[in-house]
Symmetry: C2
Subunit: 346 residues, 2 copies
């Protein structure tokens, strides 16, 4: 066992605070990683505040983890001490079901083991990345290319793969007309990745203040969604929309922007159902699809793609003591575009 320092949640209505806990002794297939940075995702806030159901406290969240390997179990083949490594939303799965065998561990029939607020196969509680160390089976550890800035790599592990996966699946490439709805943590990654794939990207946003950033991030157009005339003029002009908005919003208005056969992919999950008309779907042969992060092979593919294309998250690095304030700022969209916790400050 080794001690890890962390910032943990102790109750739904209390701020995160320092905590020290034990990480397990590495098993033969384990990789021990000293965490350098961990991104802050909206899921972290939903979880610690018990908005997605009751949780066990103390709870360490964080699933956008980048760091350095410090030790490996004796059967580990792909990693050695000194390697850069990353961990995303999952740390294990059954490995035997049809979905696992297809590399879709996030859809493991037995239920994947998530990086926090989940149970390991031995029944122990998982604890996430707002900590100094993590121990993970090598099957769920990703390789990171040497020389990359880890504070900007960390958010790729959730925000990056969540947007890469549907872009890849729908064949985004030169000429594809991609809309990105919402320019936050996920949206800014969607813009960068789609642009790196060669797509023509339009940012769809309710906030004029995002126009300049949209262009800077790689979008070739910006559409203010509350401008009815421009929305009308843009009807049927997109092939694919990555919808990163997790709250209630007018999905039908977005569907109207899709050309025949186009798809709107939801990567956020709103608590209430969306009112979706059958007419915009049927008359334009359009689809609304959900997408959940990505499997381990695709996550590695995404990291390699981003390394090759120079795609990194735009981050604001914070000290761990500022995590509670960062939550409040993120909820007000006051971050461009992801907070990255410097684990050396924990």
């Amino acid at each position: 066992m080794s001690q890890a320092r962390a910032y943990a949640a102790f109750a739904a209505d209390k701020p995160l605070a320092p905590w020290t806990f034990e990480r397990r002794e590495p098993r033969p297939d384990d990789v021990v990683i000293d965490i350098a940075y961990c991104g802050i995702c909206h899921s972290d806030v939903h979880t610690v505040r018990a908005e997605w159901g009751e949780i066990q406290y103390p709870q360490v969240v964080g699933h956008e983890i980048a760091g350095r390997v410090v030790a490996v179990g004796k059967k580990v083949k792909k990693f050695k001490a000194g390697d850069l490594a990353a961990v995303g939303c999952m740390v294990d799965s059954c490995g035997k079901c049809a979905n696992c065998k297809r590399g879709l561990q996030q859809h493991c029939v037995a239920g994947a083991t998530f990086t926090y607020n989940s149970k390991e196969k031995d029944g122990s509680q998982t604890q996430g990345g707002y900590s100094t160390r993590i121990v993970v089976t090598e099957r769920f550890v990703l390789k990171v290319k040497k020389g990359l800035p880890l504070e900007r790599v960390a958010p790729l592990l959730c925000a990056g793969i969540t947007t890469y996966s549907p872009l890849k699946r729908h064949g985004a490439k030169k000429g594809t007309r991609v809309g990105v709805l919402g320019l936050g943590g996920l949206g800014h990654m969607a813009v960068k990745i789609a642009a790196a794939m060669g797509a023509k990207v339009t940012v769809l946003s309710g906030s004029e203040s995002k126009r300049a950033d949209a262009k800077r991030l790689g979008a070739s157009a910006f559409l203010l969604t509350k401008d009815a005339a421009r929305m009308q003029a843009a009807a049927s002009s997109l092939d694919l929309i990555i919808d990163t908005v997790s709250g209630a919003h007018d999905v039908n208005a977005m569907l109207g922007l899709l050309d025949v056969g186009g798809t709107l992919v939801m990567v956020g999950a709103a608590p209430e159902p969306h009112a979706i008309g059958s007419f915009p779907l049927v008359l334009g042969r359009r689809a609304v699809e959900g997408s959940l992060i990505g499997g381990i092979p695709e996550t590695q593919e995404m990291l390699d793609f981003c390394a090759k294309k120079g795609v990194l998250a735009d981050v604001e690095v914070i000290a761990a003591k500022d995590v509670n304030e960062a939550y409040e700022r993120m909820l007000k969209s006051d971050v461009r575009y992801r907070f990255s916790i410097d684990a050396s400050t924990i």
Copy 2:
């Protein structure tokens, strides 16, 4: 000009009644068809009752038309007098837009000319298939194999293509697990066509009385949608659902039946939006898609497929004078599974 007899609507709240009107002189590209049978589609009722907006009366509806060619314009190449022929939901389109060029005339950017309640390029009103004759440009006339029973071919022109198109697009074949929601005019064609493609078909219905028919039509399983225990047991067991229900229904419950990456295709259009949760979409990477009939090349492909596989609609042939009663019976689902009007009785 030639005279045609018809059963026409004269007002939203009046029964259809006999009417005589003129069909145009055939142009060089026109095919003149003496109609043998015309299927009755729900769209016909919505249209004559002005439920989809105001219409021009008198109005002759009907877009499931099968008959025999009696004359052709001098430039017509694909048809000659005596051939069997069919006409579906469209009689013209611009022919120049990207969608027309891809054979998706139903999505013509300029708007397709529909078989009834629509405007020809010359501004004249289209009148549909509850009539003895129709004149249509050869580009929108389909070939029917000799010897087929036309009363059972007619419904393929809407109910057949509407279900064939999404089954084909999603690659239904041996091993594909297809659910068909609703066993009416469209549903019974979906079952027959999916089974003919080799798929394993499950009928999803709220009515136990459809169980025997489901099997007879080619389904290998029947799932009573109000049986919560069996619905739960069938979670994630289907690859594709053809949803033929046009009224309000619980789409989320159906999404739960889809495996990872599965799609529910809506071919009916409910007047009110559906409440669709993002969780069933996101957690299972599922999609809800709309589909609108099919283009002309695909309609011909469907007719050829059905001829080869022996797929025909189950019909109840009626005399034209019984059309109003047939409407009432259809609205009560009291038909197995499509009414086909014998045009010789008009």
